[in-house]
Subunit: 478 residues, 2 copies
């Protein structure tokens, strides 16, 4: 029989790129296997996966929130509440009982849009956060934010290679990967690194016009706030301008707000949801706001849970979204109950509250401390500049590389920042993602690293030592 | 701003149909809400969702396997093993410890292809089942079988509206829905109801030739074994012929084997995997075999877990599949550990074994009893014929409807079987799926119902009484 070749597959598949789990991450997995052997010959003992925001991974071990896991354990085996009545706080038992009555077995498919009771709770959470009404019927629980992004972009690409989506550069590569898969056109606009990664309305307008000249219709605008990989936070004036821009150009606003509680400087850099801005300004703009349990202080990536809320969507479009999610049956119940515990933490006075407060305070403080330490120390290195991110889980330092390094990289067929990151991996075990995976201006080089790490001092020292050695190696002086 | 209309969306989305959660299911949800009100005015007190194979749903309450849930509870909160040491059998504690060491926190992303340790266990399970080697690197854990089907079909459709996939009629509508979404062409071949839904190689050849004449290339053949909705099981001779057919026409064989342990007559109608047939015959055919934790005796639909194994796939194609799953990050860990407990049940002599045996024996016996009772009684009704399914979770009775019913249905703009099913729902609360959702020969009418129900006697009586009333209502005699 004829063998199957990549050329016989959907060509869109071949164009998909996803650097977060790309070449560097695959090489890191190989090294991880090599480390298990005796006499592995590597100059480090562990891989530190700073390529992905995965707080609970081995070696990082950000602890899960106890309340979340206690409720989940009782949902798995409800008889436990009777078998081991003293093992659980009373509010946990009550919460699990309430959820069990609403859901039944977590081994059953739920409503395709998500358990109605949990959607009602999400709507209340949004109302309390923003001060404006939210409708549970306009909320879709998902298997993480990525599933929602993929669904929505696949629906919006109406004409292959002619429908575009505006995306910030640098961006989270899920967006370009999803556009490639569904033959949509990425319409990039650059964030201003010198202004702490600010958005320029003018640059977005220019991207829309450029697309128009090329016969491409902009269908949606992606905004990631707090930013990934930049960690930047939008101010409300900019948000209002962005909403007006979407109105003017009939763009669906895709607001990726999964880092909304990862705020390291909440006084000077608070988070305001786009839902609140749209409600306040009574804008008719079509808004999708995405949230997730994978980030924040929850860090429950493995459960695959999240939601998106549609604002100002016509009923027939909501019906179509429902039809599409129904083909996938339902989001994982483990993720759905994870959403519920995230948006309904214990209240003051309840038995679990103190522990919950202590755990979440510690996670916030640790992240803020690490981010500040890492950005400060990286900034002090020769040829490195790093915006001190007020939010999210990442830093995106710019590295100015010696000409000789750039030439050597080019000769090896690598992007210079990928070349740098591969050497970093091989010499320290630290896996980061080259900026070429997120996008950057021509001739600039970056990498993204998470602010999740074991022992920040030791970790930063490794980054520093490597960087200095790298500069020496490729300086004109040798 | 311009309003978003369905016409401005990807036109493929509009063509997607998924009857299992379609009109009937949506109406059933509305009635379920109505039932909560006082004086609901409906002639029944509960909705029985026989439209979907969802064993643990409220009202059906097939119990989860205790072993599965105990392991899962300990994975959620590992400290429980110390806090309540007497609450769990020793083998459960040992199993959870082993999994925890291999995985770490279930709140972390795993390898995108699934936890390596669990894939190794799946490979051992397949080797023991079939007697042939299996490679963990060729196994992809998924969020249920549907996720795998959707991914694979989306990759195989290389030319929109010109790449086809052969699907049995009747089929599980996931296949047509996925083809519609990715602009693939369904190439139907009919199963022979008079021969207990047998497959005819000749009919598949005819479908390939017809496609060829229309400029459509058949890329893959879908086989559902045990069948859905038919419950039929293939014999090995037919399986060998199907493999040869795939070789001859260079078709990828997509073997949906999610009902492989739902066997009601295992002596006369055993299950043989396509992996075994391909291995035995040393066929070079590209095979994807799909399995799930949602069916079988596990019934863990809500966890979203499953796997597919690729046989004879070239390395570059496996790399592309890996790239695509990496964009979705990873399957839910709750589903992954569900796969592990399904394929590694307790062994004889271990503390959990007796209970596991009792629970699974009961589920098997109940399903076999219900299927036999339901098919026997349905067969005895005037105008109904129903193959006595040896496998899976469904029956697919054919109903011969009075001309007057057909005319009335047509006047109401309904398919006659949807018209029948809607009346069944409104009069009894039983929700089934009309045959038009699965496919049937012109002029024939069917419906699919699950063999999951509370109290089979009472349930079948409702079906009988409704059917006789329906015939009276539309017989020429009134």
């Amino acid at each position: 029989m004829r063998q199957l070749t990549p050329e016989a597959l959907n060509p869109a598949i071949l164009n998909v790129q996803y650097a977060v789990r790309g070449e560097l991450a695959i090489r890191a997995e190989e090294l991880r296997v090599q480390l298990k052997g005796e006499n592995h010959g590597l100059p480090f003992d562990r891989i530190i996966s700073s390529n992905i925001g995965n707080p609970q991974q081995k070696g990082l071990d950000q602890p899960p929130i106890t309340f979340t896991r206690q409720v989940a354990a009782l949902m798995e085996w409800p008889a436990l509440a009777d078998i081991a009545p003293d093992a659980f706080p009373k509010d946990v038992v009550a919460r699990a009982k309430e959820l069990h009555e609403a859901i039944g077995s977590i081994g059953a498919y739920s409503h395709s849009q998500g358990v109605p009771f949990i959607r009602e709770n999400v709507a209340k959470f949004i109302e309390e956060r923003d001060g404006f009404p939210s409708d549970p019927n306009h909320i879709f629980l998902t298997g993480g934010a990525s599933a929602g992004v993929s669904l929505l972009i696949s629906m919006l690409i109406s004409v292959p290679h002619k429908s575009g989506v505006l995306i910030p550069i640098p961006q989270y590569p899920l967006y370009t990967a999803t556009l490639a898969r569904f033959n949509g056109v990425p319409l990039p606009f650059h964030l201003d690194e010198a202004a702490d990664w600010a958005i320029s309305i003018h640059d977005i307008e220019a991207a829309i016009e450029k697309a128009h000249r090329e016969g491409i219709t902009a269908k949606a605008l992606v905004i990631i706030n707090p930013g990934n990989p930049t960690g930047a936070l939008l101010d409300e004036d900019t948000q209002i301008e962005l909403v007006k821009l979407c109105e003017k150009h009939s763009l669906v606003l895709l607001a990726d707000e999964v880092y909304q509680v990862n705020l390291h400087k909440p006084t000077t850099h608070p988070f305001t949801s786009f839902k609140k801005i749209v409600s306040q300004t009574q804008s008719p703009v079509l808004l999708v706001s995405l949230h997730s349990i994978s980030k924040g202080v929850s860090g429950e990536c493995g459960r695959r849970g999240g939601y998106f809320e549609c604002t100002n969507f016509p009923a027939d479009i909501l019906d179509l979204i429902y039809k599409m999610v129904s083909v996938s049956l339902c989001p994982p119940l483990s993720g759905q109950i994870g959403v519920d515990t995230m948006i309904r933490p214990p209240n003051p006075g309840e038995e679990s509250y103190d522990l919950w407060k202590k755990e979440t305070d510690e996670i916030h403080a640790t992240l803020a401390h690490r981010t500040k330490t890492m950005s400060g120390r990286l900034n002090a290195l020769p040829g490195v500049s790093c915006v001190d991110s007020p939010g999210a889980l990442y830093l995106y330092p710019q590295i100015r590389l010696p000409d000789q390094a750039i030439e050597t990289a080019r000769e090896a067929g690598k992007e210079p920042d990928a070349f740098y990151a591969l050497q970093l991996l091989h010499e320290t075990g630290i896996c980061v993602v080259p900026g070429s995976g997120f996008g950057q201006k021509e001739g600039q080089w970056h990498y993204r690293l998470t602010c999740l790490c074991p022992g920040v001092e030791d970790y930063v020292r490794k980054l520093e030592e490597f960087h200095e050695k790298f500069l020496q190696r490729y300086s004109g002086a040798n």
